[in-house]
Point group: C2
């Protein structure tokens, strides 16, 4: 990851650079000048930002409210079989995003895990390399006029984040993800499934209807699973919540 | 981990504290004053230092050239069944060690993994809790005069560390652990087994006889497997090396 998640914000792009400016702000402006400016017609067509995570996410393509990458996702799901390939749609236009890839006009990111911070695992490296090679190959085909076959892609959508249980005074965490849930990213959580395991050895279950979650690390992010065709169709408000059958979640670091 | 590995050295214990002294040196002296002084008859009987690691070590009891903890290890191996319980003997007296537990007269450490840095996994927490509970129970029994049954314990011994392949000029890593070896800590490596996977997608195999290794992260540490009775018997030089059958290795971060 070249740059932190919030640093391509309007503030970081326009702050005057001084000797005391943090490296990240300086670097954000450099990259925005080099590859953007963000939101302009001069911006580069595509930045694909590569991430890894401690969460058991497999290979996840993350993009914005756009159908740009649906056929790439379908290609990746067909050709990469060692790990699950998923699609996560962040339900806002790329112009509102702060991630590095949002500097470009059609940016998206590839997230692969699990891999601890500071560790390089060959299996994760190989999967990311395959995804990058497929992306470059897809772009070459796209640029040469290839018409890709249409079809559906299962996609997850961000709903909201849920924090860990914390001590009300110190705000320190009082629990970890329940062992039955750990590493089961993107699996369906049913009402009453164990959610957290407190350090006093109690199990915490969800007490609400539509707020199941699953994550490995610091915060929870809820997603809905929808089926996206080449033209993404949003269905809000999502009546599926009432059935408790299509709530999915993931971790995004 | 309360304190870094090299900070209970003679230097850190005797350095004059100034306003610019690093926190770790200051804390090392505080702990040495509180629980030591190291090597003195005033030192506390036991410090058990708890560590976790990204390596797939299961539960590993690490101690020095002493038979103090053989019966505890046997008890742990009997009662903890969710993960492998191993014993690693650092082949030098505790007085020469720099780890935090070396401040005490009979210190040892418990290492549990895999767990990424900055992440708390409930399964790892539960295993560590079981090991600590067993240790405390064992100490109560020991202090009340219990005579423990004798027997053998399989133990691993540190031999030497082997670094990753690096670029000869920049010294940056040029490979990761081979996927066939990743996560197989403490498994036997045979001559010719794949060892590293270079970022140019080549496999590196060991070219030497007696220097097999297995690790997950930064450096490799070779160990020999011996069987220890209550009185540990060292057998050097180890003729087992010539058979290539009893060389084991582990990762220690």
């Amino acid at each position: 990851m070249l740059i932190d998640v919030n640093l391509i914000s309007p503030l970081s792009r326009s702050s005057p650079i001084t000797d005391s400016s943090p490296y990240e702000v300086r670097r954000a402006q450099e990259l925005n000048n080099l590859l953007g400016p963000k939101g302009s017609t001069d911006a580069i067509d595509l930045i694909c930002d590569l991430h890894n995570t401690t969460a058991n996410m497999g290979l996840t393509l993350i993009h914005y409210t756009t159908s740009d990458w649906v056929t790439l996702a379908r290609t990746s799901q067909t050709k990469i079989t060692k790990v699950p390939v998923r699609v996560l749609v962040l339900d806002f236009p790329i112009s509102d995003a702060y991630n590095f890839e949002s500097v470009s006009r059609h940016g998206f990111s590839i997230e692969v895990g699990p891999q601890p911070h500071g560790v390089v695992r060959a299996d994760i490296y190989i999967i990311m390399k395959e995804a990058v090679d497929l992306t470059i190959d897809w772009i070459h085909k796209f640029n040469s006029g290839t018409v890709f076959e249409g079809g559906d892609v299962e996609a997850f959508k961000f709903i909201k984040s849920v924090d860990y249980p914390r001590d009300p005074e110190t705000r320190t965490l009082t629990s970890a993800i329940h062992p039955q849930l750990q590493d089961r990213d993107f699996c369906l959580l049913m009402r009453g499934d164990p959610l957290f395991f407190t350090f006093s050895r109690e199990t915490v279950k969800p007490l609400y209807d539509c707020e199941h979650t699953h994550t490995q690390t610091h915060t929870h992010t809820h997603t809905h699973k929808n089926t996206h065709s080449n033209a993404i169709k949003h269905k809000y408000p999502c009546t599926q919540c009432n059935t408790h059958t299509l709530i999915h979640a993931y971790t995004f670091i």
